[in-house]
Symmetry: C2
Subunit: 470 residues, 2 copies
């Protein structure tokens, strides 16, 4: 009985760890947990320190002649704030209505444990992955034989597996480049299953072939050395106004980013891109309802909306902070104002170029006083749509989910995939769904997706082991 | 001994009360304290409820034929945040280096107790106001006879006195209009000593004849129903951007307020105004050093700077709030963004007109989605520079301070003086100084100013009692 609930119980134990990289909590604990977990299953595991939060690496080499899958995941999670919006505490995994709620359940702890569970199922001598009710009542596969754990019990994995578990993905993976350059040989593989993904509003599974790049920064404006009485605002610089004007100079109210040359490197979608996103279902009505909005930016719909979503860069404000934020009113001239911003980059933009242009822009428009702090990020990455693995993986997905696979040429969110795409093709898929609320309160996964996600990885492993042209 | 330290000990007891109107704390306690205090000295005192925080009223009618002074003060104080910036806790009055630190020490509790102490000195049969070292070592008056308590001990006050102590000054005195209209007869007086004031960088005492008006508001922009992952910012409205663009439309980076007709009612300074501010010493170098700034807005200096300070309206940002404000970075598309703003108004602007124009402006420039919350405020007020009391009061100040009096036609800060100027001339002076840090951390007064402030009120009372043309 204990064995049959292993994937869920293990995930819950992992979710309890508050491994928030932005806040520096739970890092050591998460590494220890993962090393113990991998080792207990018979994998070789190490915690590797490259200067930042350590990276947990594990591998199982069955036979050097077999294909090798590299799994990229991360053990760090986004800050859980605002805490008051969580129905159950973010680090107390809670099942409600067939869903598991916790920070990291979807992004990205659920995916890692699902992948480990898939590997484990090959190693076990008895069925381990099959839960009591894997798909819930009424599911089309309810009466089927459930996955490989049943059919192939006791078999060794049909492929070699490697796991890289990053500890800084949510803060831009600053240490990962050093790790990759040092351990390039060690992590060598035929392809990489990227951290996350899931199912859309109609339960179609997605398969993403790339990531937008990202840069974070904090813009800071300073005024007097202390907060002053606001009556002095008529003759003393207000940093909040300086920040407003500087931000306004960066993007107009039609969402055009005004930084000179910002769009220069943006690669326009080609014909295969257009064909792919034409097939991609973007459920506008459902998304609007879910997000509580009346329309998308600039009133876009259809192909134009999808093009913007997948192929356009963006400049987002993540946070604004200045002066008095308490109840009521306080007439204060703040000493400081700051904005946390992020840029989303598409091929072939680079963070370095964006930073240069941002600084030049601020200086040129009279905002030399605006400081850029904590700038970091990474470029976008893409696996070509022509990769043969696209077919192999989507076949496996279709067998498990019985639904068409939605291929995304470029995932709108970001990850350090650019470090891996020069080494191997990368494919992102996972156990999330459209209501997973990643990076937001009440992050969750559906348990049925979790069980199917485990099975899907097993199918991919088997598929990859087949001789070509099967 | 206990008697001689009365003004300081009483003030300390008053400062302990955290009567923050914006946060609704300590209100009842402050009223109770004041009523007990006034009553114990033989004044008639009442706590009057007009719907909001009660107003404490007290009076001592010596003889109906004598002139009457009305003192306007307020028992509420600004929020103490940011708490971590206070060297000693804001509600634990602490003397360091001849200064008394506490929220409200300058604005406005020190002034009220100084005024009560002046009245008390006339009532006492022994010297009560003279402290052990009233002016400190090296002060020019150290060896003088100290004030009226010595010279006129046991005398009844030479004028009638009335006290109105507001409980909502720091939140715009919303209830005071009702009080004034109901108790117009009761508060009748020949002139009003307004709440506060002090001494400038060279220790010259100031005398202000008016207040700028003020309106507060909170501007709120809303986006999706919850915080979303920031990757969605490329297709979903970001309320932080909406707020930035809306604020930017209100004021350009040359500090011009762009609201149509905003300056229409601004009364230009006349020749007596110009003469008065020409005499007014504005210690630019000292102010820049104290505030930690390199220059004033738009590089203004001299008369132009003073004109701007006294005669121009302003639009200040008091606070900005949106999204993630914690440590590090969180890639979030915030569901809401808000700005606390205040307008400073000069004659003959009105809050109602400003609100109308603000709403019209936002609508006209495409910001109908920006909500205006919690709009309130009051118009500016002025006592004519030609009032005969200007001379009477400044003579009294000069006798106490041995320094020229700096007459300010209009105080840059705000207060509900507009309710009183139609009834009687109002004059603002007090126990603060240029380093008082009102509305900021480490608010304080110098004890020497406190003792001299008490004496100054006594001099004014005596001066007023003299037959004209003395």
């Amino acid at each position: 009985m204990r064995e049959r609930t292993w994937p869920l119980e293990t995930l819950k134990k992992y979710l309890v760890i508050p491994s928030v990289s932005a806040q520096g909590t739970g890092i050591k604990e998460a590494c220890r947990f993962l090393k113990t977990l991998f080792t207990s299953l018979g994998l070789t595991a190490k915690v590797i320190d490259c200067g930042g939060n350590p990276i947990c690496y594990a591998e199982l080499i069955v036979n050097k002649k077999l294909p090798t899958i590299l799994f990229y995941n991360h053990y760090d999670v986004q800050p859980p704030e605002p805490l008051e919006k969580w129905i159950s505490p973010p680090f107390k995994p809670t099942v409600r209505g067939g869903k598991l709620f916790a920070r990291g359940s979807s992004d990205n702890k659920g995916n890692l444990i699902a992948r480990i569970a898939a590997v484990k199922s090959f190693l076990d001598t008895c069925p381990t992955v099959r839960p009591d009710e894997p798909f819930g009542r009424g599911h089309p596969r309810q009466n089927d034989s459930v996955g490989l754990a049943v059919r192939r019990e006791g078999e060794k994995p049909p492929v070699n597996v490697k796991f890289v578990v990053d500890g800084e993905e949510e803060i831009g993976s600053p240490t990962l480049p050093r790790f990759i350059s040092k351990y390039r040989e060690m992590i060598k593989a035929d392809m990489c299953i990227w951290e996350s993904g899931g199912r859309d509003e109609k339960d179609n599974p997605d398969l993403a072939l790339g990531c937008k790049g990202i840069c974070h920064a904090e813009l800071v404006a300073r005024g007097a050395k202390d907060d002053l009485h606001s009556s002095k605002g008529v003759i003393v610089k207000n940093p909040a106004w300086r920040l407003i004007w500087a931000l306004n100079s960066l993007k107009d109210s039609n969402e055009n980013i005004l930084i000179d040359g910002f769009y220069n490197r943006v690669r326009k979608p080609g014909s295969l891109d257009r064909k792919t996103i034409a097939k991609f279902m973007f459920y506008e009505k459902e998304k609007k309802k879910e997000w509580g909005i009346n329309s998308f930016l600039a009133g876009l719909t259809g192909l134009k909306l999808k093009e913007r979503f997948f192929y356009e860069p963006a400049l987002n404000i993540d946070g604004l902070t200045s002066g008095y934020q308490g109840k009521g009113h306080k007439t204060v001239l703040p000493k400081q104002a700051s904005a946390k911003i992020d840029f989303r980059l598409v091929p072939d933009m680079t963070p370095k170029d964006v930073l240069n242009r941002l600084r030049k822009h601020l200086d040129r428009y009279g905002f030399s006083d605006i400081e850029i702090h904590d700038f970091r990020g990474y470029p976008p990455a893409r696996t070509p749509l022509t990769s043969p693995y696209v077919n192999i993986i989507s076949k496996a997905q279709e067998r498990v989910y019985k639904k068409p696979v939605m291929v995304e040429p470029l995932f709108a969110a970001s990850g350090p995939m650019y470090l891996f795409t020069p080494l191997m093709p990368c494919f992102s898929l996972g156990v999330g769904y459209s209501g997973s609320s990643i990076h937001a309160p009440n992050e969750n996964i559906r348990l049925t997706d979790y069980w199917m996600g485990i099975e899907c990885i097993k199918e991919i492993m088997n598929e990859l082991a087949m001789p070509a042209g099967r």
